[in-house]
């Protein structure tokens, strides 16, 4: 960075602080270890300043300023805490609590609720204000997201996530005054609008107003039925985040302990979505080569991310033939589990139940798509988010951290580093290149690490030299960034051959089903992903011996007829 920001000196509660110009009072206070309470503020979203809990006194003025929305200035004298400010904040909190249902004990956010934490911080011991609004029942949208608007504190985070980060505009502010609400146009269901079920809204909601459809008890039920043969797959991004729910720092790798915990829950087999990711690379890599060789539609765009697929089908129906026809790893896994695996073990398809553990809410939507079924039997029966798995383990009393590590089961449990890095933005592209390069050149890549494609950054470009051709690459994460790139593509302004899109900032590690937290945690998880990649003996998908066996014994070769039937799909414009 060449532009050095000018520094500003100010005093916060008597502490001298020097911060770059443009820093908010809130951020400056944090740097001085002064913790101003907030509710509507979120580090990854724009300024809204509507809850007013972060108000502070500046230069002795009676009028208070919102610390989250006001930037520091030279010589400012900020007071963040005194009896007056404390009483005003307490009153604001009591006003928020006035029409909030007090059913913490039965709330999905019990223990992770930001409003609950504020009530504890302020020592709320009685409820001064009442409103008396009848509670609304939770509403399940497309089997994926639940909205319970009587719990909404109207902080506007969900809207900011949907509008600013994702540019999906599925929800907005509605009406005014006492009727002011955050909702869909004309109160329609999310599935009837532009919602992609990416779940960013749920991942930033401070309370229990928007959350994933919790299916923990369904899993307990199917596990209890001896007729079922229940297999579970775990997505790469889960292993670097699940530990957070058990007190470990973000990015801690808990693969072995997670496998052990899943075995304790009683799954017949614990498999790895990484295996299916390697399989995806075999199909997608060959599809890309086929498009290159036979003048197919380019750029080819990845199709692993169900939020992205929903987005493309909604906003860019004219570009659907750019999408790879490959199913996502989750769905490839389901299709293979209910055919190849069933056949190999001699178990009837209808007895096999496939459960996925995913960092993602949109995976719940994806598994229910009509294309992902065989004779009306879904290839994947249930999807649990990382958060749900954590709750399930806690419900079963399993202290994951204390378990000895265990290994994934054969014949769909082997993983390469290429499969692991699917969990981070840029990973699918990097994994594909590791295989494509070798298939085309017959030689090993000089380096397996495509640093240009890695990291949290939302838009990344790179290129790779293949014989006779430079292949240009683009990686975007967040749907807002995807929209910009697709508009360029539509306008003929892109010069790339291969695009990876992930709906969530940072990729699947930043998925909306992961433990709550901001981008700071996502960045740590990304580090965990690449450590796991480095640690694995095999780092290229085509080296996966179980995938090799699958082709040899069942599929034939990549893009074979059987592979097409089981592993590929097609897309439809939505709402047309």
């Amino acid at each position: 960075m060449s532009t050095q920001k000018e520094l500003v000196n100010l005093t916060i509660d008597g502490i001298a602080v020097t911060v770059p110009a443009g820093t908010t009072i809130l951020e400056a206070a944090r740097r001085a270890n002064v913790n101003i309470p907030t509710l509507c503020d979120h580090p990854d979203l724009g300024r809204r300043a509507v809850c007013r809990l972060c108000v502070v006194e500046c230069n002795g003025g009676r009028k208070l300023k919102a610390a989250c929305a006001n930037e520091v200035w030279e010589g400012a004298n900020v007071v963040t805490d005194n009896p007056r400010i404390r009483q005003i904040r307490r009153t604001i909190l009591e006003l928020i609590l006035a029409d909030h249902p007090k059913d913490c004990l039965s709330c999905v956010r019990n223990g992770s609720c930001e409003l609950q934490a504020l009530a504890e911080r302020f020592g709320i011991r009685k409820h001064v204000f009442k409103v008396g609004i009848p509670a609304q029942e939770p509403l399940l949208h497309s089997g994926t997201l639940v909205r319970q608007m009587s719990k909404c504190v109207k902080c506007g985070r969900c809207i900011a996530a949907c509008r600013e980060v994702q540019q999906v505009h599925a929800i907005n502010s509605v009406s005014r005054s006492l009727s002011y609400a955050l909702g869909t146009p004309y109160n329609t269901m999310l599935g009837d609008g532009t919602c992609t079920f990416c779940g960013r809204c749920a991942s930033v909601c401070p309370v229990g107003a928007i959350y994933e459809n919790d299916q923990v008890n369904d899993i307990f039920d199917i596990l209890a039925d001896p007729e079922n043969h229940v297999v579970v797959q775990t997505a790469p991004a889960v292993r670097v985040a699940l530990g957070e729910a058990f007190g470990l720092p973000a990015g801690s790798i808990s693969t072995g302990k997670m496998v052990a915990a899943l075995k304790r829950l009683g799954f017949s087999k614990v498999f790895d979505t990484d295996f299916a990711a390697d399989l995806t690379i075999m199909e997608e890599g060959h599809e890309f080569l086929d498009r290159l060789k036979n003048d197919g539609k380019l750029p080819m765009i990845t199709s692993c991310c169900p939020g992205w697929i929903n987005f493309a089908e909604t906003f860019f129906p004219d570009l659907l033939d750019h999408l790879s026809s490959c199913k996502s790893p989750q769905q490839m896994f389901g299709a293979v589990a209910k055919t190849y695996y069933a056949e190999k073990l001699g178990i009837a398809r209808e007895k096999i139940r496939v459960v996925s553990i995913m960092p993602c809410t949109a995976k719940k939507f994806e598994r229910a798509r009509p294309e992902m079924k065989e004779n009306n039997d879904p290839d994947v029966d249930f999807v649990l988010t990382t958060r749900e798995l954590a709750r399930m383990l806690k419900a079963a009393g399993i202290e994951m951290n204390n378990l000895p590590e265990a290994e994934f089961d054969r014949i769909m449990g082997e993983s390469t580093g290429a499969g692991v890095i699917f969990g981070a933005s840029g990973g699918v592209m990097e994994a594909a290149l590791r295989t494509v390069y070798e298939v085309v050149t017959g030689a090993e890549l000089p380096s397996l690490d495509f640093e240009d494609l890695r990291g949290y950054h939302g838009v990344k470009y790179s290129k790779v030299e293949l014989p006779g051709r430079t292949v240009k690459l683009a990686v975007v994460n967040s749907l807002g960034n995807a929209r910009a790139l697709m508009q360029d593509l539509r306008a003929g302004k892109t010069d790339v051959d291969f695009i990876e899109v992930m709906a969530c900032p940072g990729g699947c590690v930043g998925g909306a089903g992961q433990p709550y937290g901001s981008s700071a945690k996502v960045k740590e998880r990304i580090k965990g992903i690449y450590i796991e990649d480095k640690n694995l003996p095999l780092r290229k998908s085509h080296q996966n011996s179980e995938v090799q066996t699958l082709y040899r014994e069942f599929l034939g070769e990549p893009l074979s007829e059987r592979a097409h039937h089981l592993l590929h799909t097609h897309y439809h414009p939505r709402h047309k």
């Binding site: 006035a98 409103v131 006492l178």
Partner: protein, 430 residues
């Protein structure tokens, strides 16, 4: 000698509002001609010298606002006239729009010339939509006569005026909400900074001024800033349109010189309010709009100027003077004010949305013998302090002004029904 003055209202009721020639005969468009022979900086100096305070209610010095915008980089700069006159008891902008619209257009044209604006917007209150067509036809006439539109007065300067109709939301009178609404967005206030002068309409530098402020500009230029100042109060020059309403005999719009009349003159003088109707006694008066302070008869000798009223804990605000006689219950009156704010809150910030609602519950209880406790009064105080200090915009920050000022004057009425004792606690929080 008349206590009134004729600056903005000159020609009102005598000259047909659409008659360009007649308006010229009383000096119309002379100020525009004069302005266009001056530099923008010179014009701003005159406005500064006049000490014209913003007439919408916030009383921000117009000259300072203009000078600030003059030095901001970026083109185009937009002029926005706030004609979203939504304060109950305030109807002086409607008077200007109906009676002397050409004076407003002349003021807008002068402002446009100062900032080299290609376009000005008039944001017209939804309930005034019946005025829109008439105003548009007068704009057309002024265009044909060369005072608006292309090449004003044969110069290189051109200005288009567009009228935007509001949809009835009081909050759209807040300048940043007004700009959002003009852009086609939901009318809710913006986070400031950035200030509207820097990032205003369509992200461009913008001047937002009230109808009465802009209509005062021509007279300032004709008289000169210094002379205009001398007609009023040393801290705030010129005249103010006041809207007299309620239980006085002669309700209506009056243009008065600032700093010359007392509140007693305004309410009781035969040339103005003419006293209380039906031989009743004055109980209180509400100044400046719903967000203004409540005054007591003890304060009648206060001089009507920004400075004197402020010193007495009152304010000019929009210029509303609502007079209430002895038959009115202060608590009932305040409930009506509170209901207005409940209805008009945009709803996005907690103190305003939720605070007004809880104040309503307490006011309700204060009206019922034995229903309210001392705790309720303490809670009411807490709510007032919270809303005033912590609300997002001016609406919430001033919504409780009437209650807190009335409380001082009518303490016994506030506390008449209040009981202490824990046995009433259940009722109080129920």
């Amino acid at each position: 000698m008349s206590k009134l003055i004729n600056l903005i209202s000159m020609g009102a009721g005598e000259v047909a509002p659409e008659d360009i020639k007649a308006y010229q005969q009383i000096g119309g468009f002379e100020a525009l001609k004069k302005a266009m022979s001056m530099s923008p900086a010179q014009i701003v100096e005159e406005v500064k010298a006049a000490k014209l305070l913003g007439r919408g209610g916030a009383a921000f010095p117009l000259g300072i606002k203009w000078e600030h915008l003059l030095h901001i980089e970026g083109e185009p700069k937009y002029i926005v006239c706030n004609a979203d006159e939504g304060e109950p008891g305030t109807f002086k902008d409607r008077f200007v729009l109906r009676q002397v619209p050409l004076r407003l257009f002349e003021g807008i044209a002068i402002a446009g010339y100062v900032f080299n604006s290609p376009k000005a917007y008039i944001y017209l209150r939804g309930e005034y939509r019946d005025l829109k067509e008439k105003l548009l036809s007068i704009i057309d006439k002024a265009k044909s006569a060369g005072f608006l539109g292309k090449n004003i007065l044969g110069s290189n300067y051109s200005l288009e005026i567009e009228i935007i109709s509001g949809a009835g939301a009081y909050i759209c009178g807040e300048n940043s909400a007004l700009l959002n609404s003009t852009e086609g967005k939901v009318g809710r206030p913006r986070i400031k900074p950035p200030h509207l002068a820097e990032v205003g309409l369509f992200q461009m530098p913008t001047l937002v001024n009230n109808v009465e402020s802009l209509a005062a500009i021509p007279e300032i230029l004709l008289l000169g800033g210094q002379r205009y100042l001398e007609l009023g109060h040393p801290d705030s020059g010129g005249s103010k349109l006041i809207s007299l309403a309620g239980h006085c005999l002669q309700r209506g719009i009056y243009e008065i010189p600032l700093g010359r009349l007392t509140l007693r003159d305004i309410i009781f003088d035969p040339e103005l309010g003419g006293g209380i109707a039906d031989g009743k006694k004055l109980k209180f008066f509400h100044l400046g709009g719903q967000s203004g302070a409540i005054g007591h008869p003890d304060q009648l000798d206060t001089v009507y100027s920004y400075t004197d009223l402020r010193a007495a804990g009152l304010s000019v605000g929009s210029g509303a003077v609502v007079v209430m006689d002895e038959s009115v219950s202060i608590l009932e009156y305040l409930k009506a004010v509170n209901e207005f704010f409940i209805h008009e809150s945009c709803g996005k910030c907690v103190p305003c949305r939720e605070g007004n609602r809880q104040i309503h519950k307490i006011l309700d209880r204060l009206l019922i013998p034995g229903a309210a406790t001392r705790t309720d009064l303490a809670t009411l105080r807490r709510l007032i302090d919270t809303m005033t200090a912590a609300s997002f915009c001016g609406l919430g920050q001033t919504a409780a002004v009437a209650i807190s000022t009335a409380w001082k004057h009518f303490k016994s009425e506030f506390e008449a029904n209040v009981v202490d004792g824990p046995e009433h606690y259940k009722l109080a929080v129920g």
